[in-house]
């Protein structure tokens, strides 16, 4: 390209109206820049859309609850609240100990149980059962819950989350689900 070809900024050629060639050249340049930018956007889309999809995929991976055996019926005394350990609903093979979780579970009657999530509804810290006081205490920001999981004191906005329980052929099971998240709206 010659050095003195007009650029889009240089306006009409000296000495009057732009020539037909100048107009053609400018429109050609406009086309070429739009083409290049368009191709760039297309490339970004081709790579970017799957990348974003890959990274945010966990958001949409809905986990169905899974029944997990946490002990035999005979292991429990009626009225006693103990912690039970179980595996997450769908652990990845490389999760290691992070696939484990715990809940507080109480035998209410012959075959009836209540299972509370161990996560404080304030910000998810692990609440501890104080058997003497019949309270759940949170170590982080001072949340306190009564034995039925309702809020006794502190910042928690909701009672402790409960898991479904059942007894199948003498095995005590709870239906483990997603980590309970307290949302505002």
């Amino acid at each position: 390209m010659k050095e003195d070809t007009p650029t889009p900024d240089s306006g009409p050629a000296p000495g009057g109206l732009p020539t037909r060639e100048t107009v053609a050249l400018l429109s050609r340049r406009r086309f070429l820049s739009r083409l290049s930018i368009g191709l760039g956007v297309a490339c970004a889309g081709i790579i970017g859309v799957p990348v974003v999809g890959f990274v945010v995929a966990p958001i949409f991976r809905k986990v169905a609850g899974a029944w997990r055996t946490v002990g035999q019926l005979d292991d429990w005394t009626i009225g006693e609240t103990v912690s039970v350990v179980f595996e997450d609903p769908s652990p990845l093979p490389w999760a290691g100990v992070t696939a484990r979780a715990a809940a507080w579970m109480r035998r209410d009657g012959e075959e009836s149980f209540t299972a509370f999530s161990a996560h404080c509804t304030h910000l998810g810290c692990p609440v501890r059962w104080m058997p003497g006081a019949k309270l759940f205490l949170c170590p982080c920001h001072g949340g306190v819950y009564y034995a039925d999981g309702s809020v006794a004191a502190g910042p928690p906005p909701l009672p402790l989350f409960r898991y479904d329980t059942r007894v199948v052929q003498g095995e005590v099971q709870i239906k483990v689900t997603a980590l309970p998240i307290t949302t505002t709206l």
Binding site: P58, C140, L179
Partner: protein
């Protein structure tokens, strides 16, 4: 020999053009009186470089797997040569970087350096502050011990409070619906690739702005910024009295940066990094998660905000603070720069330091948390052989009263100190309070038997100033249980 080196260098420099590329930047003129107040920015950069180098080194041995990271942390800390030192450098380097960012912000704010034409220097700096804090938080998570695992849960719960998209954000943070195999690798990618990448880009931009606008001249009272004339005056003054950045200005950056790095290395050698103790097993419920010191103040905020304002403070306040910080230079880009003509700027800095400082102190004591280690009260505190009172003291521990209340320095700080409660409340008041609870106290009415209430009240009634032992100081400030 020397001649050979010189000629090789001249050849290389001619072909590579390094002097032509960096020479003008190094030799650019800076105000003569820009002295020790101006070292914090370069110190932040020095700390960042320490972080990049030690971080890359740690990545040689760290396995970002939810199952194995804890073991590799142990290996790095206990077996790898220089491993503990490397972790220490990375930890104290992070601490230094947070502190230096703070000092740099305070200095540029007090000097009015964010005003015309350096508004974007400030705003890019605010973004870099945000990135630095994100690095601090995600870095603590990569330690992948018990505290790290629970911190991810807390982060997810906090994100969960964002209106409408909270649940999605929480899942994004956890990498699924629970803590697990996907969690750590996400934070590894964020801590090692995404945020450092952004930081390189914004540090580059931030430094380019230093070259484009020059570092700010030392403010003079009564000499306001006029956008119409500022650039011309600045340039004229530089030509008259400026000195080349290299080496006249740069030597101070090197002296201060070296002192900082020596301090980082010294702390890493003497104190070492935070220990790696408990594994990231969410089924271990005896956990007491606390953030590292640079976010401890925010931990205190989360405990202290009134419940009704929680959504506002947790979500809206950080957004608002960020907006105000980002837009601050545009809102006040003209006028006086010297702090003596902007007294409110001193107030802002002092109040910020006081606020974060006091939140730090209260966060480290965490008086809102029950003391789970409370031991039964010793006879020297009970000071009675009356069976009812002894039973009351026993129940005071067994029914978890002591986890939240202090008796002569023993117990928790969640509720009021009951060392001299009998001076404040009579028997009826005591019963009402115990049975019905109060602000922040559970109602014990359906937890205690009537005779247990009697015993507790009998014990409480012995807690008065009159019955305190006169000899020896009363231990009212012990945080933990008393030695036996």
């Amino acid at each position: 020999m020397k001649r050979t080196i010189v000629s090789v260098w001249s050849w290389l420099d001619d072909r590579l053009g390094l002097s032509a590329l960096f020479g003008p930047s190094l030799k650019h003129l800076v105000p003569r009186d820009a002295t020790w107040w101006y070292v914090f920015g370069s110190a932040t950069l020095a700390a960042f470089i320490v972080q990049v180098i030690t971080g890359v080194a740690l990545a040689f041995s760290f396995v970002p797997s939810s199952a194995q990271a804890f073991d590799t942390l142990r290996f790095i800390s206990e077996e790898a040569p220089f491993g503990n030192f490397m972790r220490g450098l990375h930890y104290y380097g992070a601490s230094a970087m947070v502190l230096m960012v703070g000092a740099h912000m305070a200095q540029t704010f007090l000097f009015g350096a964010y005003k015309y034409p350096r508004e974007m220097s400030w705003s890019t700096g605010v973004l870099l502050l945000g990135f630095t804090l994100v690095m601090g938080f995600t870095g603590q998570l990569l330690r992948w011990d018990q505290t790290a695992a629970w911190s991810v849960v807390v982060a997810a719960e906090q994100a969960g409070r964002v209106p409408l998209i909270g649940d999605w954000l929480a899942r994004f943070i956890l990498g699924g619906s629970t803590l697990g195999g996907a969690t750590l690798s996400r934070f590894f990618a964020i801590h090692v690739f995404i945020v450092p990448g952004l930081m390189f880009a914004f540090i580059g931009l931030h430094l380019w702005l230093v070259l484009r606008h020059g570092i700010s001249d030392v403010p003079v009272p009564g000499k306001p910024v006029h956008p119409a004339t500022y650039r011309r005056d600045y340039e004229a003054e530089l030509q008259r009295t400026g000195v080349p950045f290299w080496p006249d200005g740069a030597w101070r950056d090197f002296v201060f940066g070296t002192a900082m790095i020596l301090l980082i290395a010294g702390l890493a050698l003497v104190y070492g990094p935070p220990p790696v103790e408990m594994p990231p097993d969410p089924s271990i419920l005896e956990a007491d998660p606390r953030p590292d010191w640079y976010l401890l103040w925010y931990f205190a905020v989360l405990a202290l905000i009134p419940e009704r304002m929680e959504g506002v403070v947790m979500i809206l306040a950080p957004v608002l603070m960020g907006m105000i910080l980002l837009l601050a230079p545009i809102l006040g880009s003209k006028g006086e720069r010297h702090w003596s003509r902007r007294p409110w700027s001193i107030a802002v800095v002092v109040l910020t330091v006081l606020m974060i400082g006091s939140l730090w102190i209260v966060g480290s004591k965490a008086p809102w948390s029950p003391n789970f280690e409370a031991e039964p009260l010793p006879p020297s505190v009970i000071r009675s052989t009356d069976p009812l009172i002894e039973r009351g003291a026993e129940l005071f521990h067994a029914r978890a009263c002591l986890n939240c209340h202090l008796i002569e320095g023993l117990g928790g700080r969640r509720g009021p100190d009951l060392t001299t409660v009998a001076d404040r409340l009579n028997e009826t008041d005591l019963i009402i309070r115990i049975v019905n609870g109060g602000t922040g106290m559970p109602a014990y009415g359906h937890i205690l038997q009537a005779h247990e209430v009697d015993a507790l009240v009998a014990f409480m009634k012995t807690r008065s100033r009159k019955t305190l032992p006169s000899s020896g100081p009363i231990r009212v400030d012990a945080t933990g249980p008393a030695p036996p």
